[in-house]
């Protein structure tokens, strides 16, 4: 028969209590942080996944920020293009009106009106967003178009007005978000045409069918640019939807690996508490007892 000594009771009691407390501390940490994995050794596989999912989530959030800023940029561009097409349509109307039955002394009034519209159109082409010229291409810190002081010409930024600006909207996905001035306004062609028309009027020449056709053609061209922006917007919207559903998935995966099931942890905690209490109770009953208690 195995001899059982008093010290064995004590060491058994202590090691049981210790084990129980160890589990209690773990459960307590889980409940307090509401996380199942607080250090890599809690679950190495999950720790690996958590780091990668967290990184993916960080990137996804970055892409969402990029998307929202990209959309604002495209929206600002769209608005400018819309305004520009309105101006062209106004010019066209003016030209049609001027062509049909205008006294030559009225021409200068039309010319003045065209000049105003020229001003406005250059202003629109120099629209700024966040301090940058949206039609400046990659040289967007300087105005892309400059109306000469004598209003005889519109010059383009000598550093250039072309170049694409791309935003990252996903892993390996970068999307051009700008329409540069070269593309949007055919360089300074539209402005040059407007100046020509104005000067012809000032010289007493009625608008020609050719001039009207040129403006119509410009109108159609810029409207198409607006359509292109619409499709860019559409593409960005699609990215946004993808990214959002990605984010939802990532959050769920991260939670699966990382989060503690609080209800389960609490139930376990209660069980562990009971075990500890029982161990204490039994220890308190048995440990003090020796034969000495009965020898009188």
């Amino acid at each position: 028969m195995m001899r059982i000594t008093e010290n064995k009771f004590i060491s058994n009691f202590l090691s049981n209590i210790n084990r129980s407390r160890d589990r209690l501390v773990m459960l307590q940490t889980q409940i307090a942080t509401s996380k199942r994995v607080n250090k890599p050794s809690d679950d190495p596989e999950a720790a690996n996944k958590i780091i990668l999912f967290q990184s993916a989530l960080d990137r996804t959030e970055q892409y969402m920020k990029n998307i929202s800023e990209g959309k604002s940029f495209v929206d600002a561009t769209s608005l400018a293009i819309d305004n520009f097409t309105n101006i062209l349509s106004e010019v066209k109307e003016l030209l049609v009106r001027a062509k049909n039955g205008t006294q030559s002394n009225e021409l200068s009034i039309y010319a003045k009106k065209i000049d105003q519209l020229l001003d406005e159109s250059v202003h629109i082409a120099n629209t700024q967003f966040n301090g940058k010229y949206i039609f400046g291409g990659t040289q967007n810190l300087q105005p892309p178009f400059v109306l000469a002081a004598d209003r005889s010409s519109v010059s383009v930024n000598p550093s250039g007005i072309s170049g694409a600006i791309k935003f990252a909207f996903g892993e390996g996905v970068s999307q051009t978000v700008n329409i540069n001035g070269q593309e949007a306004f055919r360089g300074n062609q539209i402005f040059t045409d407007l100046i020509q028309i104005r000067d012809n009027m000032l010289n007493g020449q009625l608008p020609t069918a050719l001039e009207i056709q040129a403006i119509s053609e410009h109108f159609k061209y810029v409207t198409d640019i607006g359509g292109k922006l619409g499709s860019i917007n559409q593409t960005i919207d699609n990215f946004e939807k993808q990214i959002e559903s990605n984010k939802v998935n990532l959050l769920k995966l991260l939670s699966d690996f990382q989060d503690a099931d609080i209800a389960e942890s609490i139930v376990k905690l209660k069980q562990e508490e009971m075990t500890l209490e029982a161990a204490m109770n039994v220890g308190a009953r048995i440990i003090p007892k020796t034969l000495l208690d009965y020898l009188r």
Binding site: P40, S41, N48, I51, N66, N130, L292
Partner: protein
């Protein structure tokens, strides 16, 4: 027929013997909580009988031997398991420190610093001309280099901590071997007189056991009760004296050598071995991998960054973003620290171009490690989870080893432990015998009275 004196003599012997047995019991009770104490027992035997005509007449009782109740086989097993246990305990202790150092998964570890760094280049891509965002890029760069250096220095500090601890452990080992050889000398000199020096033996066993937690010892006992302790084939404690162990640096590693011969001693278990494993293998491996991440990051970012253009007129080009070659010396290049406009975002010098910023932000996903199969993050994540599983394995083995040791301890206590109940029962037993023997003396005394009265 036995004379009255014979009876008186045997009663006297009984009184002495029971008293002696009681004193052994008392010694046991007194040492119930003494670490390493082995319960002792007085072996009682009937004393040499007298030869009379009627036959052999008993002369009572005597103590043959006061011995220790100890199972050498369990001792051997405890020592073996102590070595494994010590090894695991030391490993766990230091591995947990590494784990605390890397501080993952959290939003303040290296992983998060990398994400934020690449994120800042994404922001720069959207606003290449913004000084505010260039400042953020710089700050995230400083945060990232700081994270690398903090880890690097922390791990190196850990190595120097282990160096100190190894010296402490060696000091204790050398102290123990000295004491063991002294005790052994005492014990063997007593044994010559056929006296068992029980308490000295307990002391020696206790010291050997402490030693077994520290290092992989082998204990051999010769027929005359002398023990010899060796480590990896080198005798470090015997009756002849102790041989000290000391450290020796070989390259970046720390070796243990015998101070007598200078030959290296094979340490493969015990706390010393656990610390050495972390010191010579785990931490240097971790540092190498960290270095690999840092150097790949530096090279990749710099090669893209230096090909691009900053702001200014004319825009600067050819600037590196980082300096340094690894996790210990990674830093932000002085040209960047001096002038934020030297951060490059543009591939052609146009201030609105952001191709370089986008490319640098994209490095986060690039598979540039392990021959183009692993991204920086993936490499780091597997480094972290590798450490986690190492700690897990050590922890599980430790739990098992703890159980084995507590089982063995229970077995040993079952043989060697003092039970108060048992000792009290013995005490009563001896007390009753003492009482009875005293009664015999009394009776003999009455017999003498009767005889004297007859005169």
């Amino acid at each position: 027929m036995a004379g009255l004196t014979d009876i008186l003599e045997s009663a006297r012997r009984a009184l002495i013997t029971q008293r002696l047995a009681m004193s052994v019991t008392s010694h046991n009770i007194a040492n119930v909580n003494t670490p390493g104490y082995t319960r002792q027992r007085a072996d009682l035997v009937a004393s040499q009988p007298l030869k009379r005509k009627a036959g052999l007449i008993g002369t009572g009782v005597t103590v043959d031997y006061i011995g220790r109740l100890r199972n050498q086989f369990i001792d051997q097993q405890v020592r073996t398991n102590n070595q494994l246990n010590g090894d695991l305990v030391a490993q766990q202790q230091y591995l947990s420190q590494i784990e605390a150092l890397i501080n993952e998964p959290t939003d303040v570890g290296l992983s998060s610093a990398m994400s934020k760094f690449f994120g800042s280049f994404n922001e720069l891509a959207k606003n290449p001309d913004s000084t505010g965002i260039r400042n953020i890029v710089l700050q995230q760069g400083v945060n990232l280099t700081g994270s690398f250096k903090r880890l690097d220095q922390g791990l190196k500090k850990l190595i120097s901590d282990t160096d100190i601890e190894i010296e402490h452990k060696l000091g204790r080992i050398n102290q123990l071997t000295k004491e063991i050889s002294q005790l052994d000398l005492q014990i063997t000199s007593k044994l010559v007189d056929n006296i068992s020096p029980n308490d000295a033996k307990d002391q020696r066993d206790l010291k050997i056991e402490e030693l077994s937690k520290l290092v992989n010892i082998k204990v051999t006992e010769d027929g005359r009760g002398s023990t010899m302790v060796s480590v990896g084939g080198v005798v470090i404690a015997s009756r002849a004296g102790a041989v000290e162990l000391r450290t020796e640096r070989v390259g970046n590693s720390l070796n243990i050598v015998s101070s007598l011969t200078g030959n290296s001693v094979n340490i493969n278990s015990g706390e010393l071995s656990g610390i050495l494993k972390v010191r010579n293998t785990t931490v240097p491996d971790f540092l190498t991998k960290l270095d690999q991440i840092a150097s790949n990051l530096i090279n990749r970012v710099n090669s893209i960054h230096s090909s691009g253009y900053g702001l200014g007129n004319p825009p600067s080009t050819g600037n590196n973003f980082f300096t340094g070659t690894g996790s210990s010396d990674i830093d932000i290049a002085a040209s960047i620290l001096n002038n934020l406009n030297n951060i490059t975002a543009s591939s052609d010098g146009a201030p609105g171009d952001n191709a370089i910023a986008l490319a640098i932000a994209g490095i986060e996903n690039e598979k540039i490690l392990n021959g183009g199969t692993t991204s920086l993050k993936q490499f780091y994540a597997s480094l972290v989870s590798g450490l986690g599983s190492q700690i897990n394995i050590v922890g599980n083995n430790l739990k098992m080893s703890d159980l084995v040791i507590s089982q063995l301890e229970n077995q040993r206590q079952a043989v060697s432990g003092v039970s108060i109940d048992e000792e009290m029962t013995n005490m009563i037993k001896y007390q009753r015998s003492f009482d009875a023997a005293a009664k015999v003396v009394n009776s003999v005394n009455e017999l003498y009275q009767t005889i004297l009265n007859m005169v």
